[in-house]
């Protein structure tokens, strides 16, 4: 089925160098709608930089990035997010001194509601829209087992709960695609199953996903196929079993192992 789905994210020839460091060089791959694709590779392969460039937190030196038909390379992050491409961070970045419910309300698409003018002159319409958001938020919080914590300051949550809140916020925002930057980082291994379920559930609701993770068994259960990066570029694409036999992939990982011995 995914063979026929249209391409939602097209990365072509993307390059990003920092001074002397060639973080990403001529990176290219495509993601189809509704897929869950893993982005894997040894440390220093440039995966985080790639995510930063695609999501607008870093401007590429060269290359084209097309999301849902529109070229977005060089766009600032908030514009990319507004287009429907969202990314998470290696540490779950919640808004600490705001309540869980406020975290959800902020994640909701504001549709231009958060202006000064509307704050002073459209209060009734704002209230009604906020009520609708609250109803949706409560349901989502229930799904992620955070409803009882909705009035708690997000900064007081445990690491695992913060991760789940991140998922809930993404669900609230209902983007077209999410780039997960190491969703297992800082999470108790016992919660991996919960995270996997959350990913699958969000994917079923229609969100395309790209997942950076080092935990390869997890990547295998979560992802339909994978893109392998090494030294800044795309060295292989495919399913896990075939990647395990791929010479280039083995060299890249072995190289990492050898360097760490």
């Amino acid at each position: 089925m995914s063979e026929q789905a249209r391409v939602i994210l097209e990365v072509k020839g993307v390059t990003k160098h920092f001074g002397g460091v060639r973080a990403v060089t001529d990176l290219s791959f495509d993601i189809r709608e509704h897929e869950v694709v893993g982005l894997i590779g040894p440390n220093g392969a440039g995966k985080s930089t790639a995510v930063n460039v695609i999501s607008g937190f870093s401007a590429p030196d060269a290359g084209v990035i097309r999301f849902d038909g529109t070229e977005i390379q060089g766009w600032p992050a908030h514009n990319v997010a507004a287009r429907g491409l969202v990314r998470t961070f290696q540490s779950a970045r919640e808004w600490a001194r705001l309540t869980v419910m406020d975290n959800m309300l902020i994640a909701a698409n504001q549709e231009g509601r958060d202006t000064v003018w509307k704050a002073l002159f459209a209060r009734r319409a704002l209230k009604a829209a906020e009520e609708r958001d609250r109803v949706r938020a409560r349901d989502l919080l229930r799904q992620f087992d955070l409803y009882a914590l909705r009035d708690e300051y997000a900064g007081n949550l445990s690491g695992g709960q913060k991760r789940l809140l991140e998922f809930a916020r993404v669900a609230m925002m209902a983007p077209r695609m999410v780039l997960w930057d190491e969703p297992l980082a800082g999470v108790n291994p016992r919660l991996q199953g919960n995270i996997l379920n959350a990913i699958k559930s969000l994917n079923q609701s229609g969100i395309t996903m790209m997942l950076i993770e080092h935990n390869l068994p997890f990547v295998e259960s979560a992802c339909d196929r994978n893109v392998v990066m090494a030294e800044g570029t795309n060295i292989a694409v495919g399913l896990m079993p075939e990647l395990r036999q791929n010479r280039a992939v083995i060299d890249a990982y072995l190289g990492e192992v050898a360097a760490n011995v």
Partner: protein, 327 residues
């Protein structure tokens, strides 16, 4: 005695108003801006030269403008100037600078602008200062001194309340929540679609408008002043009022302003004047204020009246539905 209390409340109203403006920048948006009082000074100076008649003193000094306008016009003009100045400063400062670098740049700006305002003999009368400010509505109302004092009192309290209410509406709106998200983590805010720069700039400008209005009001309250009133270090005391009172909580901030900016100076004012050490008690007062700030930041960083903790009423249904997250 009641007029003494009246004048204290007037001072409290004006200084609280000014503190509410800084709170928009710091408490809501998390911008550690040390140029706030410079914007207040701009409002004061600009408002003054709008109210005052054309300069007619000795030739080696002088001030610009001198439009002889009524107070309300000056107040609006000062507010607009504060907003426009903040727009320009904020546009450059907020694009690239954060945290401690923003503070250094803004202090530097505050010192530069103070030096220009205070030293240039032709801009605003140099170190001579400003004196003989006509009082608002004085010629129109023709009241006796006590009645006028009461009028001034009511006017200040009303201005304070109007500012308070408008800012409170902004705080509770989606705009306010967006600012708080930016305050907590601006990268996450950007990742969820917020234009961080534009929103920070909006907060900066709003703070600037309040600063301009408050500065103009403070100028007519003081009626005579020299540049040292606007020394850059004063910004710290307004921050102190916010830290002590309660960040991002307007009730707390008003309390903090009353404690730090009105009560402590008033109490220390009645200390005896030790000949030869005229600076002793003002110095002690500032030391006391700074120590108080340090203590509060260490032991009660949320302030006396902390930020409001919103609660969601919920919908009365079960807490745990078919949970996605449960294995």
């Amino acid at each position: 005695m009641s007029t003494y209390l009246e004048s204290l409340i007037v001072l409290a109203a004006i200084l609280s108003l000014l503190t509410l403006g800084l709170n928009v920048r710091w408490g809501w948006a998390g911008e550690f801006d040390l140029a706030y009082y410079a914007t207040v000074a701009m409002g004061a100076y600009f408002g003054s030269v709008v109210i005052l008649p054309k300069y007619s003193g000795p030739a080696h000094l002088g001030y610009i403008l001198g439009l002889n306008q009524p107070f309300l016009v000056a107040m609006v003009a000062a507010g607009i100037l504060g907003g426009v100045a903040s727009l320009i400063i904020g546009f450059f400062a907020l694009r690239n600078l954060r945290g401690d670098y923003l503070s250094i740049a803004t202090v530097a700006f505050a010192i530069v602008s103070w030096q220009v305002l205070a030293q240039d003999p032709n801009l605003f009368d140099g170190f001579n200062g400003v004196y003989g400010m006509p009082q608002p509505f004085e010629s129109v109302l023709k009241l006796g001194p006590d009645a006028y004092a009461l009028f001034f009192f009511v006017m200040c309290v009303v201005l304070f309340l109007i500012t308070y209410v408008i800012l409170e509406m902004l705080y509770r709106s989606p705009f306010g929540r967006t600012l708080r998200a930016i305050r907590e983590d601006e990268y996450a805010a950007a990742a969820f679609g917020r234009n961080v720069f534009v929103n920070k700039l909006k907060a900066y400008v709003i703070g600037g408008v309040v600063a301009g209005v408050g500065g103009c009001l403070f100028a007519v309250y003081l009626a005579d002043w020299n540049p040292y009133v606007w020394a850059p270090i004063e910004t710290f005391l307004i921050y102190g009022a916010i830290f002590i009172g309660g960040q991002a909580n307007q009730r707390g901030i008003t309390l903090g302003a009353i404690i730090l900016l009105v009560t402590i100076p008033e109490v220390t004012r009645f200390m005896p004047n030790i000949p030869g050490h005229a600076d002793l008690f003002p110095a002690l007062r500032d030391i006391l204020s700074a120590i108080l700030v340090i203590l509060v930041l260490r032991f009660r960083p949320q302030g006396l009246i902390p930020e409001v903790h919103p609660r969601d009423p919920g919908d009365g249904q079960a807490a745990v539905a078919g949970s996605v997250a449960n294995v």
